[in-house]
């Protein structure tokens, strides 16, 4: 019954000013958005400072970003191509993080998904003449299964043996890259080059540019069907998390496992299932990328999408619908990053954004009061 006293200020430091954190008792709805936006702005400012210090030109860089996001159709189309895997991977992370399962392995699950989809075409499981109506869904399924497998492994290790999933998922990233590389270089390679044969046209996700004959404005636009898949998947992920019974259980288990057990929820089983779902979404991203963009399996299919997705998910507050606009933003960042010197800028900005976001979460939970203390008698 006795509520513990808030820490009595101990006359320890010599600072006359004390910064005290008081828990908030109310949280107006606008606060979340305002704080996040503020964090991003601060991050961009900090990024600009670092860029200037490294001899780059922040204004030019940010100019590129804005153009990429809001500029002409061609650039915007490229941005959307970059946003497509981010949406799926962001949704994958959002799902896992909602249960406090730290899936850092989205990148590896992405690679495995690409592998799975490629296997359908290159083994070949389905002959090249197969109708795309069968080929594409088969690739989708294979990609999702492969990704789900890559999520299952850390999931079951965590559920049964309480093995830290941060490290297992991360290690599997490196394993996945090497696995893919083996097949790219040794099994499916095209004449010694570091890539496989190009996929038959039936295995390509259609692009806007394919319809340039009927609609000349679409010429050169590389946005592909993967975007639609991603949007649909994001909506489904949102529905699962926020409208279905299972999603309720996931969020409850993530917030308070004890209360979840009291409500009769099986934490162990859900750990495995959620990791598999997360992996499946990431695998789908992999399939979409190789079938819609490069049309072959190769080593470099990701500029770190899986890691950017973590930040996307966090900025979107783990809501798969919010992931969509955030992915567009980050897509613009990555797209613009190709023009910006130094080339590590997008990664750096993403990192700083995450730091500022975490730091700003504080403002959501606590009110900051600055007190001027007089000397204790």
């Amino acid at each position: 019954m006795t509520t513990p006293d808030r820490a009595v200020p101990r006359p320890r430091g010599r600072f006359p000013v004390e910064i005290r954190l008081e828990p908030r008792t109310a949280q107006p709805r606008w606060l979340g958005l305002a704080v996040s936006t503020g964090a991003v702005i601060v991050a961009l400012l900090l990024g600009a400072i670092v860029m200037a210090a490294a001899g780059g030109d922040p204004f030019r860089a940010y100019g590129f970003m804005v153009k990429a996001a809001f500029g002409e159709a061609g650039v915007f189309s490229d941005t959307m191509v970059k946003a497509t895997p981010l949406i799926l991977l962001g949704a994958a992370c959002a799902v896992a993080f909602s249960m406090k399962l730290w899936n850092i392995g989205a990148e590896g699950q992405f690679f495995l998904g690409a592998f799975g989809a490629s296997a359908v075409v290159l083994t070949p499981l389905l002959p090249p003449e197969t109708s795309p109506w069968i080929m594409i869904p088969a690739m989708i399924l294979a990609g999702m299964l492969a990704g789900a497998l890559w999520g299952f492994i850390p999931g079951i290790l965590k559920a049964k043996l309480n093995v830290n999933e941060i490290i297992t998922t991360l290690m599997l990233n490196y394993v996945a890259v090497n696995w893919n590389n083996f097949f790219i270089y040794a099994v499916w390679s095209e004449g010694g080059f570091q890539m496989t044969h190009k996929f038959p046209a039936t295995a390509w996700l259609p692009r806007l540019a394919d319809y340039a004959k009927q609609f000349p404005q679409l010429r050169g636009l590389t946005t592909h069907l993967g975007l639609v898949i991603a949007l649909v998947a994001a909506v489904i992920a949102w529905w699962i998390l926020y409208r279905s019974r299972w999603g309720y259980e996931i969020r409850l288990a993530g917030d308070n496992p004890r209360a979840a057990k009291y409500a009769g929820i099986n934490i162990s089983r859900n750990t495995i299932l959620v990791m598999m779902l997360s992996g499946a979404l990431a695998g789908l991203a992999g399939m979409s990328e190789i079938s819609g963009v490069v049309h072959r399996l190769q080593g470099s299919i990701s500029p770190g999408y899986g890691f950017s997705a973590i930040i996307v998910a966090w900025l979107a507050k783990l809501n798969p619908l919010a992931v969509i606009p955030v992915s567009v933003l980050f897509g613009a960042l990555i797209q613009a990053g190709r023009e910006i010197q130094p080339s590590g800028v997008p990664k750096m900005i993403q990192g700083i954004v995450l730091v500022c976001l975490i730091g700003s979460d504080l403002l959501l939970r606590y009110r900051v009061r600055i007190l001027v203390r007089r000397q204790e008698a």
Binding site: N164, N181, G351, I352, G359
Partner: protein, 322 residues
């Protein structure tokens, strides 16, 4: 494929892991989990190279690198200790920020000229010992010898000194320490800083001793994460950390060397004739880390050992103990 050479190189490579692992052990023993090791290592590598190019003095470079990484770690420390945020996400954030910063600031480094590296030498009497001499004491970088000293120093500090006792206390039961007047938050800041410095040292060791040069992210290629896994394997003990680090170092060297010769033990070397099998070799360190974690988790479950009890839990006065 000379086993002596492999082990000798393994010790050198393992020293990098050793510094990072012991640094993280110290931070985690105080109750704060810092997942930003990879980022801090990269910052250390980048900083040390930049400074060495600017000043030509590797020793200054090492010190600056350590300080830079330590400073970076304080961002995470403030967020985790003062803001009481979730330490996992905060550590990840630090990681990304660190990697990003290192990439941007280190942009020009791959066009660098010659570097002045840290000296390497043999220790006179000890290098004559059969077997062990050539491995441990012959033509190793000075950093390797620092590593040898660090292990017992860390162990003694943690287990046999008064400040070490306080370190263990604030990681296990901060309420008890607080009630007896120990400054939990301040000490945690300090030990996170030390952890950061050691991660920076690890990075500097790569750049200036073990694998000189700047290869962007590939400079560290996940060793920071392996170090975090090794902490669990080591059960937060510096001596076990040494065993794990050197073993991993040897493993990495073995993976490199095994692909070279045409025969191994007078049998055809499969890795020479089918070079792409090397990719599976590359997987080994990471799979081993997972295996090591599984072993570590089961052991912890059995032996009532395990992580410092207060690891990852922000300490708030007024929430008594249990």
């Amino acid at each position: 494929m000379d086993p002596i050479i492999i082990l000798q190189a393994g010790v050198a490579s393992g020293t990098v892991l050793l510094f990072a692992t012991i640094g993280e052990i110290i931070a985690e023993r105080s109750g704060v989990m810092n997942l930003g090791v990879e980022g801090m290592m990269l910052i250390g590598a980048m900083t040390s190279m930049s400074v060495v190019l600017a000043t030509g003095n590797p020793w200054i470079a090492v010190l600056v690198a350590m300080f830079a990484a330590g400073l970076l770690s304080q961002i995470h420390a403030v967020i985790a200790i003062r803001f009481r945020a979730d330490q996992v996400v905060s550590g990840l954030a630090l990681n990304f920020a660190g990697i990003g910063l290192a990439l941007v600031l280190g942009e020009t480094l791959n066009k660098a000229g010659a570097l002045s590296l840290l000296p390497a030498f043999s220790i006179p009497v000890l290098s004559a010992i059969p077997v062990l001499g050539p491995i441990f004491f012959t033509q190793q970088s000075v950093m390797v010898y620092v590593g040898y000293l660090l292990v017992p120093a860390a162990w003694l500090f943690i287990n046999r000194t008064r400040p070490g006792m306080h370190l263990r206390a604030i990681g296990e039961f901060p309420a008890a320490a607080d009630a007896l007047g120990i400054n939990v938050a301040g000490l945690r800041h300090l030990y996170v800083f030390i952890g950061g410095m050691l991660a920076g040292l690890a990075g500097a060791t790569i750049s200036l001793a073990v694998s000189p040069g700047w290869f962007s992210e590939m400079t560290t290629s996940g060793q920071g994460w392996i170090a975090i896994g090794l902490v669990i394997f080591a059960q937060w003990d510096p001596v076990r950390a040494a065993v794990g680090s050197y073993t991993f170092g040897a493993l990495r060297r073995l993976i490199l060397d095994i692909q070279g010769p045409t025969t191994i033990l007078s049998l055809r070397n499969p890795f020479y004739y089918m070079p792409y099998w090397g990719f599976f070799l590359e997987m080994l360190p990471y799979l081993f880390t997972i295996a090591v974690l599984v072993i570590g988790s089961r052991e912890a479950m059995r032996k009532r050992l395990g992580a410092p009890s207060a690891l990852g839990i922000p300490y708030v006065r007024g929430e008594r103990g249990l």
